[in-house]
Symmetry: C2
Subunit: 301 residues, 2 copies
């Protein structure tokens, strides 16, 4: 089944202790759609400016991503400049130019309206809800959000949360949203707000999955070197939702597999700058790292 992805497409300028990149293709929808394309057909909804050239469109087409919903409008594409220092746990934003993204109103081509799987990347919750409401056949809608919306537009976010099945957030965001430091309690609170599935991303510490039936924890893949953490969270979401769209199976066992595929893809994402590694993978590499997650976490009963 196809996965609809809505979010930002941007040009990122990134500096890390391992190097730098200028105006490379990035943004939440870019990372999640390119990643999900390894698992399922992907339909992209985003906006870019006049400076978005043929070579950029070609990146999405090289992954067979449907770009009918990638709107091009007058003006410049969203730009973000950031750096990672020290332990690289958090990006320091040096500059944000919203440009055409400031007036973004997601427009869904008619051919997208039967989408059964939806990833609502981190944008204004009002827009996320607007997209969700146009997709009556959605079997699974997942939402990403951030502190900016949790603190800035809590009421709007609550309405959107009530309309989705999955929330994917990082640890601090989960705590902020729920008002509990304890993540088990935080997830319980969030599940009462709407999403029956809560996925908490903990960066180098891995991911937790909370469902009605169980709690699942997986560590992050121990890498020798993290070159660029940009997009790792959206890459996780792309792998998670991509696997679910590919299989159509929403059982707890398959949600766990989806968490592993998300973690596998996140571990690839940070190995190179920008999209580098995510564009040059093989299905065998993905399966091989999936099995490495098994050997990383397995013990006998």
């Amino acid at each position: 089944m196809a996965l609809l992805v809505v979010g930002s497409v941007a040009f990122d300028s990134i500096r890390t202790p391992h190097g730098q990149a200028e105006e490379v293709l990035g943004g939440t929808a870019t990372y999640s759609s390119v990643t999900a394309s390894w698992f399922a057909p992907v339909r992209l909804v985003a906006v870019v400016g006049e400076d978005f050239g043929e070579k950029h469109f070609r990146v999405f087409r090289s992954r067979s991503i449907d770009t009918k919903g990638l709107e091009q409008v007058p003006g410049r594409t969203f730009r973000w400049r950031g750096e990672y220092v020290g332990s690289m746990n958090e990006a320091r934003t040096l500059e944000t130019q919203l440009n055409v993204f400031e007036q973004f109103t997601p427009k869904l081509p008619p051919s997208y309206l039967d989408s059964e799987f939806v990833f609502l990347g981190n944008i204004d919750p009002v827009l996320q809800l607007h997209v969700r409401q146009q997709l009556p056949k959605a079997r699974l809608a997942a939402l990403d959000s951030m502190n900016y919306w949790i603190q800035g537009t809590p009421e709007e976010l609550k309405q959107t949360l009530a309309a989705v099945d999955v929330l994917v957030v990082n640890e601090e965001e989960a705590r902020m949203l729920a008002g509990h430091h304890n993540l088990k309690k935080a997830a319980q609170s969030i599940r009462k707000m709407g999403p029956r599935i809560v996925v908490i991303k903990r960066g180098e510490y891995g991911v937790m999955l909370f469902t009605e039936h169980s709690v699942f924890c997986v560590p992050a893949y121990p890498l020798d070197e993290v070159h660029d953490p940009t997009g790792a969270g959206d890459t996780f979401a792309g792998g998670f939702m991509g696997h679910l769209a590919r299989t159509g199976d929403l059982s707890d066992a398959n949600l766990r597999r989806a968490v592993i595929y998300g973690s596998v893809m996140g571990s690839f994402a940070v190995e190179e700058f920008g999209l580098g590694r995510l564009l040059h993978l093989t299905p065998e590499e993905i399966e091989s790292r999936y099995r490495e997650f098994k050997s990383l976490t397995h013990f006998d009963v």
Copy 2:
């Protein structure tokens, strides 16, 4: 096989957001020996003062711990006062009275000298080495240490590291000792210093095990509430070493099981103040939580 444990025995006064306790039995050797006693015979080496009463000795005897090496000398027992605030990730020490612990020189009763499993709790590395050298039959000697020794007596610590098989430290200590932020690299460096097995404790994020053959990660057990984190690290070490002493099996598969037993015991330790939970367990509760770790981490390949 018996496990020899050396370290501190103390009276702890603890305050956490969930309550407080005054002068309760604590210390590294107390937590690790009481925990290990659920798995194997334990031989304790520590020092206490004249204020260490019959009721305190009775705690060790209630767990059939051999106290021939628990020396009682003139003076007062080691006292520690600390509190945990907010997320309770770190203890704030309010007062330390070393008392008789200041002049502690571990003395091994003749009946201890055939010990095959040894846990050298966090004390001066010179004393740890002194104990290690008296145990020619040791098949597995594990060492705990801390930033105080890593920074204060690095040369002495290096000599001791060269004489042990396992290092058990927390994340920041591993980074400090190795001079690498990346834990995989840090563990590689530490393995070159002597210990062929490196266990890194990450608090609420779980534990990593590094051996010659593999890396193993396990998350912490997600608890609804942590009442008192005191002793959780020593409890982990007690469960880890206790299981290895019980089985005598040093294979990677069994080291992984030992990490789970350590994590199981650590999760019990923090449920109540002080030793509370660790003294009132059943083997069935331990096995049941071991299986819960399996359901927490299992996914299909």
